[in-house]
């Protein structure tokens, strides 16, 4: 099982995560990201890791 953690206080609202994993992340009115699901399905694991890698604020943690 993979668990995603998002630090909204670090987030700068760039939306790199939304581009990488659109079914896992979304953005609020000021661009700040929020999690749609905390435990993504196996077929989403790869894009969640890409989102974590792409985040310019290193605000996303992925725990196996």
């Amino acid at each position: 099982m993979v668990r995603v953690n998002l630090d909204r206080d670090r987030c700068y609202g760039l939306g790199q995560c939304v581009l990488a994993a659109p079914d896992v992340f979304d953005q609020d009115d000021e661009g700040i990201a929020w999690l749609l699901v905390e435990e993504p399905r196996p077929e989403q694991h790869d894009e969640v890791r890409q989102a974590a890698m792409a985040c310019p604020r290193q605000a996303i943690g992925v725990a196996d």
Partner: protein
């Protein structure tokens, strides 16, 4: 080279920058091929990813060329964007550009975050996606102009310089009928050679935006200016002066950058027929191809400067407080530790993590919009002109290789 400071372990071996012999002067412009970074960097990058260089004003800086080094530098809060700091790298040899003082790009920390959030809300992925029909319409109109001009027409003039400006006008809320008025003012501002000219051009720009803001104070408009007036100006969170500064710098930042990616990107595709053919056969590859073209094309010539507020270790090298660094994304984008066969254009590769939008808190807030614009322009162009080719065949491309953004100034195409 084992004696090099970059190879030394631990910060206890820190050597002050001013005592080292510079490896290069910065920037370098000489290229062996139109799509590769200047050769002098490539040679240096493999040997010394954080290297002492001499800037245009004669002072030393650290040049960072590795992927990890660039990411570390641009995300470290101890490396400041304060361009008025005496240690801030001066890339052009001219005094600090007054125009850019107190813009988002020169702010740090909480103050930067405070203003930045007002823009990011206007540039979310959802907002960008909602603009697809407008971008497509603007693109198709530009392609009509290209078609009307006939084979041999200049893609830069008819498409690359047109689409990003029009999209930015739509986003911010400049009427299309005033599009040429705005681009004229922007050009004057960028081309001003004396500070008197620059101040006059800036005043024109500010008074133009002031009128647009006044309009939004009296009418609800569904555009960036309208939203910012309603959400932040009317509540006192934003001064009129700062709102205008945010608006015009956003417009200016989104124009040449995207325009040059269109011109240079199309040139690169036409010079890589196997990749072009792949995109024609498998159009779903286009979003990935946009990132790959951004990774591959070395547009950022003067790098991204910072000054150290404290001692910071960057990719094994200690940068001492007060020293300047310049991160160079085009080299980091060719780092073999991250990208296999980095010097090949490969539209199938996953290049999403390229650093051409920068990294850290200052990463381009309009990346989603820029990516979408490029995707739409490249896609529509290939659909509309299935036999598109360079009109001048194998002749040298007309590159502007000393501009702030490397670009093709003209790209004659035929079909």
């Amino acid at each position: 080279m084992s004696s090099h400071p970059a190879a030394a372990p631990g910060p206890e071996t820190a050597t002050p920058l001013h005592t080292l012999a510079p490896e290069l002067t910065f920037p370098q412009f000489e290229r062996a091929t139109p799509f590769d970074p200047p050769e002098a960097y490539t040679e240096l990058s493999g040997r010394c990813p954080v290297a002492p260089v001499r800037m245009a004003d004669g002072k030393p800086s650290w040049l960072i060329t590795s992927f990890e080094g660039v990411r570390a530098a641009l995300s470290d809060p101890r490396l400041s964007s304060d361009m008025s700091h005496p240690g801030f790298p001066n890339r052009t040899g001219k005094p600090v550009d007054d125009l850019l003082k107190d813009t988002l790009g020169a702010m740090d920390g909480e103050r930067h975050r405070y203003y930045r959030r007002m823009l990011t809300g206007e540039l979310t992925v959802r907002r960008a996606k909602a603009m697809r029909p407008v971008i497509t319409q603007i693109t198709d109109e530009a392609l009509d102009q290209l078609a009307a001009a006939g084979p041999g027409a200049d893609l830069v003039k008819h498409v690359a310089l047109v689409v990003p400006s029009r999209v930015a006008c739509h986003l911010v809320g400049i009427p299309l009928s005033e599009y040429e008025l705005f681009t004229g003012m922007a050009a004057k501002l960028m081309e001003a050679t004396s500070s008197a000219d620059q101040i006059a051009a800036l005043q024109d720009m500010v008074s133009y935006f002031d009128k647009l803001v006044t309009d939004r104070e009296h009418h609800d408009r569904d555009d960036l200016l309208g939203h910012m007036v309603r959400r932040y100006l009317s509540t006192g969170e934003l001064t009129r002066e700062m709102l205008i500064r945010l608006a015009w710098t956003t417009m200016a930042a989104g124009q040449e950058t995207t325009a040059h990616m269109i011109g240079l990107g199309v040139a690169a595709l036409l010079r890589h027929p196997d990749q072009l053919e792949l995109l024609r056969r498998e159009p779903h590859l286009m979003p990935g191809a946009v990132d790959e073209l951004m990774r591959y094309l070395p547009m950022i010539q003067f790098g991204i400067p910072r000054v150290a507020m404290d001692d910071v270790e960057v990719d094994g090298q200690t940068v001492t407080a007060g020293e300047g660094v310049v991160a160079l994304p085009p080299l980091a984008n060719r780092d073999p530790a991250v990208f296999e066969r980095p010097d090949e254009l490969d539209v199938r590769r996953n290049a999403r993590q390229h650093l051409s939008f920068g990294y850290g808190p200052h990463q381009c807030p309009a990346h989603a919009l820029a990516r979408l614009e490029l995707e739409v322009v490249y896609s529509r162009l290939l659909e509309r002109f299935p036999t598109l080719r360079l009109a001048d065949g194998d002749a040298d491309l007309k590159v502007q290789d000393e501009d702030i953004m490397y670009n093709v100034s003209e790209l004659a195409v035929a079909w």
